[in-house]
Amino acid sequence: MSERSDIVIIGAGPAGMACAIEAAGKGLSAVVLDENPAPGGQIYRSVESVGQKRLDILGPDYAKGKALVSAFRETAGIDYRPCSTVWNIGSDRRVEFSQGGRSFGILAGSVVVATGALERPSPVPGWTLPGVTTVGALQILLKGSGVVYDDAVLVGAGPLLWLLAAQLVDAKTPPKAIVETTPPRHVLGLLPQLFGSLAAPGYLRKGLSMMRKVRRAGIPHHSGATNIRIEGDSQATAVRFESRGRSHHIASSTIALHQGVVPNQQITRLLQCDHFWDDSQKCFRPLLDERRQTSIQRVFVAGDGAGIEGAASAEMQGRLVGLLIAAEAGHVENERIDSLQSQLKREASVRPFLEKLYAPSSEVLSPADETIVCRCEEVSAGAIRKAVDDGAPGPNQVKSFLRTGMGPCQGRVCGLAVASVISQRTGKPPEDVDYYRIRPPLKPLQLSELAAYDGASPDKAVG
């Protein structure tokens, strides 16, 4: 017999924690499955355990997570299961996951996907070399273990580039340079969006102060970078690019790429929820109704997995979903629901400005022919274009021809890049080009673990 729970929440970031707090607070049984050993997600990673020094480096927005994590820990009735990797969800909402080398299944009344965002793939020449990482990965190292590299060059676009640079300045290991693909003085053209975002002035203030800090630290900054190429034979040794009509070469063994973050679609795609293409965010998003329910009944999305809106919104969305599910069980709190919804609208007002300002560079949306797009199977953009010319209309046919997305990352890294190359080649919008059909298991699963799995939750079955 499988275990059952009113709600199974996947992910213990701000959205997942807040959802669990609200639902369990109303007496619903809530299981929270999370891959990490402690709650917080990417944004509040290790927030319970870091010392004051690292808290100062990471800043007040990070430290805010402490209160949420404590509330999560203290709410009675939350069945929190860290180090749990969800690898499948069936149409009966049986959530299958691996914990401690064994697999379990829980039947969920409602599934809340709170798996957040992934960094957008940045396929540029040389991005597969050792020493090339992502800005997000560097920040995880800083949050999780305080590890920093003293010669990191941050390359790309997006607020995270500036946030990490500012944190590295505070950590006394400033980056060697910031190479932005965002054009210089881009901001002037964005005044209309800027006015629209004045309802959320906190973001702009924070952004400007990060930039000031980085500039004051004297870190070289290049904007409008194009023709980015990472050099090295067996290890990255330098990044080369053009900016303002000049060619640049910066030696470094640590190149961190970033082109913003995009929703992690693995679970909503696995469940075959309807998705739409958001041209402003340049990514697919699951289609949600006003209750944040997907096109699949009783499957909800809270947080950046539904579209990038940031940590504050993620927490509010989590609360909202928790309250809405509790309301169905008779615990109606219309006032809080209404107030969360209007707060969410205010938070969202800054997005059009940020999305325009930090639009991904056209080079990563349309990599050069020789650039590897699918790292696992080493498939180049040119090979994908050729497969399209040979009659493959979408990612799934390209996958059948070339094995793109069939490696250990299961398409997580290359999915958007492949869809974008195909979209440009066919001249069809990404929505019509579609996306990989996501095949379970969502994370690699030991064959011996599967052999020992019978669909039930052994601990409960024994008892």
């Binding site: 009659g391 095949r439 298991p441 030991q446 064959l447 599967l450």
Partner: protein, 384 residues
């Protein structure tokens, strides 16, 4: 090159762009017929794109053996026949016996087949088995093998038939479903959402979706959708050259040239042909995983990185419907291959094109008649 490419009323309209439809289109176009293939999704979307790719004569139902043997001849020449990549390569197909009783049964089968004049299945003793499968578990006692069977890439192979058929003038219409079939004088009218196609002859090879089309024509073909499950592991060091099954339990197992191991056989997920969807049931796959590990202990270390299933058409007696309609002139069928139709594709395509173009074929199709279930049901009804 014959046959107009944009013919509004082709000689032959094929419903279903799987390997059978594409192979039939190729052979019919080669005979000079004008051919249109109508596919409701995209070519090789279902069974033909997602099966395990085994090119196997081993262990076939006796009724299928002659077609399978003929198909193997075509497979061995497929590269030059289609001038394209199909991923076909020769590899032994081996059914492993895990005890003496299983081995005795395999031996009986090989003898029975030999009595009918077929010598492609050979019995392996303990030592011969280990020579072909060095990584096999200690308890395995022998096996039955077809040494020059093989495997291919199903999507590539199906697409290769399609491309060659197109070169010969066949026309493929994708994302358009056949909605209504009606007789029109001596020919047929097929209504679709994007217009009506008139054809003198019609071949239905629409897999799990064929039953509804046959029913429109007043023929009862109890084909149902099934979703055989397959899993594939991360790359492992090379340890196996053969495609392996087990005599006593369901298994299909092979290591691909890139080192990944594809494991399937027997276990099924949920097929939902009406919505074009299938679902993996991991609670069913545990026995497949267990079987793979017990036959190849090295597999205990393997990690699964992907699973898949596609919708295939299955008949109650697990052999296909192949042949002419019993009710209408100009209607033909090839469907319901019950999860082992991929290898048969080339010969079925050849046979159907011969039958459709000339009205006759040398191949004995008696066992595959579409009315075999009507007769069966009638006799059952009589007994009640």
């Amino acid at each position: 090159m014959t046959g107009p490419t944009e013919s509004a009323s082709p000689d032959l309209l094929i419903i279903g762009g799987g390997i059978h439809g594409c192979a039939a289109a190729f052979f019919a176009a080669k005979r000079g017929m004008s051919v249109t293939v109508l596919e409701k999704d995209s070519v090789a979307r279902h069974a033909s794109g997602v099966n395990a790719g085994g090119v196997r004569r081993l262990g076939r139902d006796f009724a299928e053996v002659p077609i399978s043997v003929r198909s193997m001849e075509i497979w061995h020449e497929i590269g030059s026949l289609l001038d394209d990549e199909t991923g076909f390569q020769i590899a032994p197909q081996i059914k492993v016996a895990e005890n003496e009783a299983e081995l005795a049964k395999l031996s009986e089968r090989a003898e029975a087949l030999e009595m009918q004049g077929f010598r492609h299945e050979v019995l392996l003793d303990r030592a011969q088995l280990r020579e072909l499968l060095p990584a096999v578990a200690d308890h395995a006692v022998g096996g039955l093998a077809c040494l020059d069977d093989g495997f291919a890439q199903p999507f590539w192979a199906t697409t290769a038939f399609r491309r060659k058929a197109e070169k010969l003038g066949a026309r493929f219409i994708e994302h358009v479903a056949a909605e209504r079939i009606e007789q029109d004088g001596t020919g047929w009218l097929v209504t679709t959402a994007s217009g009506i196609i008139r054809a003198s002859k019609l071949l239905v090879c629409a897999g799990a979706w064929s039953g509804a089309l046959a029913a429109q024509l007043g023929e009862d073909a109890p084909v149902r959708g099934i979703a055989p499950l397959m899993i594939v592991t991360a790359r492992l060091p090379h340890f196996c050259d053969a495609v392996v099954g087990a005599a006593g339990r369901p298994l299909s197992f092979k290591q691909m040239p890139n080192g990944t191991v594809v494991i399937g056989g027997g276990r099924r997920g949920i097929a939902d042909p009406a919505r074009n969807r299938s679902e993996i049931l991991f609670s069913q796959l545990n026995l497949t995983a267990e079987t793979a590990i017990s036959l190849f202990p090295i597999m205990a270390e393997a990690t699964i990185i992907r699973s898949w299933s596609g919708i295939e058409g299955c008949m109650p007696d697990e052999i296909p419907v192949i042949g002419p309609s019993k009710r209408h002139e100009g209607i033909f069928y090839a469907f319901g291959f019950s999860a082992h139709g991929f290898q048969l594709g080339p010969a079925v395509g050849e046979t159907m094109s011969e039958l459709i173009a000339t009205g006759a074929t040398q191949t004995d199709l008696t066992a595959f008649a579409i009315d075999r279930f009507e007769n069966h049901r009638r006799s059952q009804g009589g007994q009640q």
